[in-house]
Subunit: 318 residues, 2 copies
């Protein structure tokens, strides 16, 4: 038990999670609940408030020193506002910082979810004491974050850069970002599924695995079929691994971090990616000793964002 | 006249230049001399030493407070050593910092030439008081630099990132960096000349402009022919502008600087690039408001490196 805690909140498109942390990074309690964003921000904010109260109580700590929120973007960390009608329908200009500050009378921070997840890995995960830490999350999209000396790197006007939309091949598929062949359009889970659906699967086990329903083919299934040696699935995963490696090579040449931490659902197929990546790194070590950049799996899994959100408060109190 | 100066040195593959600067950034004297690198580092170091003495004297200042050196890479800023047998033949492990410190008994710094040129633009050029300033030099190669809050951004082990070797199209030409289709292989001056030589020029004015000698076609000539409306040259410059724009779009998405400063020989053809770039920026403003990133020509021309090298000293003395 600890006298003082801060609470990290991780707000996603379907669930919100909260964890209570000591200054040393011990998680004393953690809980999650559906956010049901479509019911509107008012309902959502009350749920978050209640969740914080429950987790605080469960931690047994007397004093709550602050609340850090990591949210599915776009967020405005400076104004303290969530503005995300894309994955939180109806959540436009939601002043979450002001609301939680009024409710609990403590400092509150708001950050992008990719940034807090990377910060969590810096604080208590794979990237501890790494001066320049880059993080790549491959799931529904490709999210990136850069942590410099334990601080979130921000771009113009405090914006979160969108490294997942760096263009890798202009002859690639179109993306909602306006580009053709950006990292996300080539490597995220929907891109893997789309490639499978566009492939002639007459000699593949994939369609059978999906119960004959083309729409049921997803990235996980393609990876599974590839592991069973299915040639169509292998060809798709090889192509994805090729582009994934280009994305990493580009990070190494443009940012040159000491470590790149990999996470997200697609990274569960890391075994299918890493051989390609290692080969690509060896082939692109002329200008930069790319092989000295450490490539590491994330260690905190679904809790990385909670750790990082809590750290945004602890790092200001220290 | 000023009592105190620092001297900035810009060491290139053919010439070395030195300038004397006041703390306010006024250049009181400047001189250059051939480096004749092939005569060996000993001769070169003596020339640099002499050049510094001449410029100091010409500035009329009593006190020399420090010497900043910007050198064609690879350099090792931390060990203070130039290690560049590529463009300075024979210059391996040349301890320029120790040498100049012993000769003048003042602090000496050593930095990559792309970094000091960007720093010069930050101090007294196009990028004054820009918090996140990115610089791109397109000439024999594509050089990049990132200045964060007036400090050179460094990667792993103090390395200078090589943003010019970011891959833009894996079906592009091979580069000595190990990649296919990196920025430099698609947009630097030799790439432009190479594309012209590989084009069917039977209906082009280019061969005539080069006196019938294919080998005499260079980037400047291609740009000139394009300005005269030659279809082959226009097609080449359009392609180069397309890829150049991709490179800029990638900088915006991965780094999101407030400003990108453009310089180098190829940028003398900026009129042929900018219409494409503006169109590309407009088309890639979904994730990041790319159109708010300022694209600016460098202002200090050949002296940018001198200014920046001097600033590396002044900024530590302030």
């Amino acid at each position: 038990m600890s006298d003082e805690i801060v609470i990290g909140v991780d707000l996603g498109g379907t669930h919100v999670r909260a964890g209570a942390f000591t200054s040393g990074g011990e998680m004393l309690a953690v809980k999650e609940t559906p956010i049901e964003a479509a019911r509107g921000p008012e309902t959502g904010l009350l749920r978050i408030q209640h969740l914080i109260e429950v987790v605080w109580k469960e931690s047994g700590a007397q004093a709550l020193l602050g609340i850090g929120v990591g949210s599915t973007g776009p967020t405005d960390p400076i104004r303290g506002v969530i503005n995300n009608p894309f994955t939180l329908p109806g959540w436009e200009n939601v002043p979450i910082i002001a609301r939680l500050r009024n409710a609990f009378d403590v400092p509150v921070t708001l950050e992008n979810d990719a940034d807090v997840a990377a910060l969590g890995e810096y604080w208590r995960g794979a990237g501890q004491s790494i001066r320049r830490l880059y993080a790549v999350t491959v799931g529904t999209g490709v999210g990136t974050a850069l942590i410099l000396d334990g601080q979130i790197y921000r771009g113009m006007d405090g914006l979160h850069p969108e490294g997942g939309h760096v263009i890798l091949d202009p002859s690639g598929p179109p993306c909602y970002c306006g580009a053709h062949g950006c990292w996300e359009s080539l490597c995220a889970a929907p891109a893997i599924a789309r490639q499978a659906r566009q492939t002639d699967l007459s000699n593949s086990i994939l369609l059978g695995m999906a119960g004959g329903d083309l729409e049921k083919i997803d990235a996980r299934l393609v990876a599974e079929a590839a592991r069973l040696g299915d040639p169509s699935a292998c060809a798709i995963m090889d192509k994805v691994a090729f582009y994934f490696s280009l994305g990493i090579i580009n990070v190494i040449h443009s940012i040159t971090p000491e470590m790149i931490v990999l996470s997200g659902g697609v990274m569960k197929s890391a075994d299918l990616f890493l051989p390609h990546l290692n080969k690509a790194i060896a082939a692109h070590s002329v200008m930069i000793p790319s092989n000295q950049v450490r490539i590491a799996p994330a260690q905190l899994g679904n809790y990385a964002g909670l750790y990082g959100a809590a750290y945004t408060i602890w790092s200001t109190l220290k």
